[in-house]
């Protein structure tokens, strides 16, 4: 029972970071931009939030948790948005190839994260000495009162606010895309920018906003991981390949943020399943770690066989748009 409960809790914990990334990428892709820089941006987001909190706590005698939280949140938001901006500038304004820019951004972002992670580690007095206890505690604070309910409390109310924020963002993004004018316009931009343009939509502005916003949301995944999951510390490459899984989740979710929610929990569960399955050897554990990737592949195949118009990627995905081009 305890094991199952912990498993579900941890699966959700693992999933949330991916969920932020996937939601951000969905918003981005809806504008026709395939941002393979998301994994890098998540590193950038994570480290900048940590740095914000770190310097705040370091320079203030009695840090106030909420201020630390606010600063780190803002830092993450700004820096990851900046990552999205670099991508946007290169691909939208300069019409560079999206895949190349994305991959380069990932190289850059991971380097950025690890470099500054190392730097503040040094400032903090060595490895594992970074700690933004106060801020992290604020991020980790679970829902008061409700979290005391047995089982239900653990299952539903034991998480920090970012967990709930991730879900709220996903739900509201779905609503945004489906029911609002701006959402409709955004979808149009991703489907066919020339048509959207002819309809009077400012394609460039939509692409920029969606990509920058998407990056900022994805960056929160990094912040979540550093703050709520790790409790306010840094380990180089500690975020692993979750950014790539987030991109995979976009397809699994068929570009619908609501689907990404359960999808992320599934991924989270598969990610740690090997620890919970009894009787595995080291070798079979390694095979078990393939599961998230294999499941993605299977879903990919299944969803490609079902050739529904609505479950296809935005049709201009990956292509640059230039009004005067034919």
């Amino acid at each position: 029972m305890d094991l199952l409960l912990t498993f579900i809790q941890k699966a959700i914990g693992q999933g949330i970071a991916i969920l932020f990334g996937a939601t951000g990428e969905i918003v981005t892709e809806k504008s026709g931009n395939l941002n393979l820089g998301i994994p890098g941006i998540m590193y950038m987001g994570g480290i900048s939030g940590l740095m914000g909190a770190f310097f705040y706590e370091k320079n203030v005698a009695n840090p106030i948790p909420l201020i630390g939280l606010f600063i780190s949140f803002l830092m993450t938001f700004i820096v990851s948005a900046l990552g999205g901006f670099i991508y946007s500038f290169l691909t939208i304004t300069l019409r560079a190839n999206q895949n190349v820019v994305g991959l380069a951004l990932t190289t850059f972002g991971v380097g950025f994260g690890n470099f500054f992670g190392g730097s503040i580690s040094k400032l903090a007095g060595g490895v594992g000495q970074i700690s933004v206890k106060t801020t992290a505690a604020a991020f980790r604070a679970s829902v008061p009162v409700l979290n005391k309910i047995p089982i239900i409390g653990d299952l539903l109310f034991s998480y920090g606010f970012l967990t709930y924020l991730a879900i709220i963002i996903s739900l509201s993004m779905t609503y945004f895309l489906k029911h609002t004018r701006k959402g409709l316009n955004l979808r149009a931009v991703g489907e066919d920018p020339a048509t959207a343009d002819a309809a009077g939509i400012n394609v460039t502005r939509y692409k920029y906003s969606a990509t920058v916003m998407g990056a900022a949301i994805a960056g929160l995944g990094g912040l979540y991981f550093v703050m709520e999951y790790y409790g306010g510390t840094w380990s180089n490459n500690g975020f692993g390949d979750r950014g790539w899984l987030a991109i995979a989740l976009v397809i699994l979710a068929l570009w619908n943020p609501n689907n990404a929610i359960w999808g992320s929990f599934l991924f989270g569960g598969l990610y740690i399943l090997y620890i919970y399955l009894p009787g595995l050897t080291r070798a079979t554990q390694e095979l078990c770690k393939m599961l998230p990737y294999l499941v993605t592949i299977v879903v990919l195949i299944i969803s490609s066989k079902r050739n529904k118009h609505e479950s296809q990627p935005p049709s201009s995905l990956g292509k640059a748009y230039f009004r005067e081009e034919r």
Binding site: G118, Y276, R282
Partner: protein, 395 residues
């Protein structure tokens, strides 16, 4: 000697250390060059401790910055060979490497540069390599682990006494990297330490299959806790496990670094290596032109291992006294960590098993005088027996 060090100190930050060390440096200390390649960098606890050791060696021997070339993030492939020979090309007289998988590449380089000394930490092949310039070194970290085990045992006792858990529930969870002697020896010594004060203690070990997988370590710790572990220890390099323990409120023992920054309310202490004694010894041997040990392994007595300050907030009352007592006993040789009377394998004593022959016969060389002589035949750990009371969850 002092003139040389003063000259070179002018342009670097090294000033105060060279001055303080100038006393007993040999004349040709200024001519020597030291190279070291690390598996990681200063952002990784294990490498960081080596870096500290090198720094202290520099201070102690009065070497300048130019005399020590440090290469970071050298993986366990041909890059290790490239790095080693590059250091040799740059005129290093002695070259160190700190990761297990770099050993064969070190040997390849050692063969090519017979006049350069190559020293490899955690490895085991120097003696058998037939290369006179190849050396292995390690610390008796198991001693420190035993002591941290004692701290853990006392904590378990406290939990039993104040009724939080029953004596039967005194289960330890252990986050291990890989199932080979270095780790097995480590967790066994930790367990024996805990058991020496808390006889009902049991232990479960789960591997992460990585030396530095922060998330994996955190997840394994969480799983062990969910599985009933009341205390967590680790032999892997990140702060993942303590960070998970802090959230779950479970006391824990770390490795390499003081964990109180990530786990202020749950970290007890950590076992750590102090590499300075070896680096000082090795470089000094080269300066002096004396022969270096093929296998070097030292522990508490020589200050090569230790435990970080006890976290008074968390440790059981009286821990400090007990720790002092155990440390003293280890130093004076009255306590042997792998005392064969303290553990059984399948219900039998190790001596009996060796006498029976079979698979266990190979341990005959290691066991005498009532204890397993860890790290004496070779510097790297060799205790890889699975003793009673410990369950490996990964089969």
């Amino acid at each position: 000697g002092s003139s040389a060090t003063k000259e070179s100190s002018s342009d670097t930050i090294q000033t105060q250390s060279s001055e303080s060390a100038s006393g007993d440096t040999q004349d040709d200390a200024s001519a020597i060059k030291v190279g070291i390649m690390y598996i990681g960098d200063e952002n990784e606890g294990y490498t960081e401790s080596h870096m500290k050791g090198i720094q202290e060696m520099k201070t102690a021997l009065g070497l300048t910055d130019e005399q020590v070339i440090e290469k970071t993030n050298i993986p366990e492939d041909e890059s290790a060979y490239d790095a080693a020979v590059d250091l040799a090309d740059q005129g290093c007289n002695i070259i160190f490497a700190n990761s297990f998988g770099q050993e064969s590449y070190m040997m390849q380089a050692a063969e090519e540069f017979p006049e350069v000394q190559f020293a490899h930490a955690t490895g085991y092949q120097a003696a058998s390599s037939g290369l006179s310039n190849m050396h292995n070194y390690f610390t008796s970290i198991y001693e420190a682990r035993f002591v941290t085990g004692v701290v853990a045992g006392l904590k378990l006792n406290e939990l039993i006494e104040n009724g939080t858990i029953t004596a039967e529930q005194a289960k330890i969870g252990y986050v291990g990297a890989f199932p080979y002697a270095e780790v097995v020896s480590g967790y066994t010594s930790f367990y024996l330490g805990a058991k020496s004060v808390c006889p009902t203690a049991t232990m479960e070990v789960q591997y992460t299959n990585s030396w530095a997988d922060m998330s994996g370590e955190a997840e394994v710790a969480s799983q062990l806790i969910a599985n009933g572990a009341k205390l967590i220890s680790q032999h892997a390099d990140t702060t993942g496990a303590p960070s998970a323990c802090e959230q779950a409120g479970v006391p824990n023992v770390g490795y390499n670094v003081d964990m109180t920054s990530v786990a202020p309310d749950s970290a007890l202490t950590s076992a750590y290596n102090n590499w300075a004694p070896y680096y000082t010894y090795a470089v000094k041997s080269v300066i002096d032109g004396t022969k270096m040990d093929v296998n070097w392994c030292q522990g508490f007595a020589e200050g090569a291992v230790g435990i970080t300050a006890l976290n008074e907030k968390v440790v059981a009352a009286g821990s400090a006294e007990k720790v002092a007592q155990v440390e003293a006993a280890i130093k004076d040789g009255s306590l042997h960590v792998f005392d064969t009377t303290t553990f059984t394998i399948g219900g039998k004593s190790l001596e009996d098993l060796i006498a029976e022959g079979g698979d266990y016969a190979k341990y005959a060389d290691y066991v005498s005088d009532g204890y397993f002589h860890e790290s004496e035949l070779a510097s790297s750990p060799s205790f890889d027996l699975r003793i009673d009371g410990i369950t490996e969850l990964t089969e």
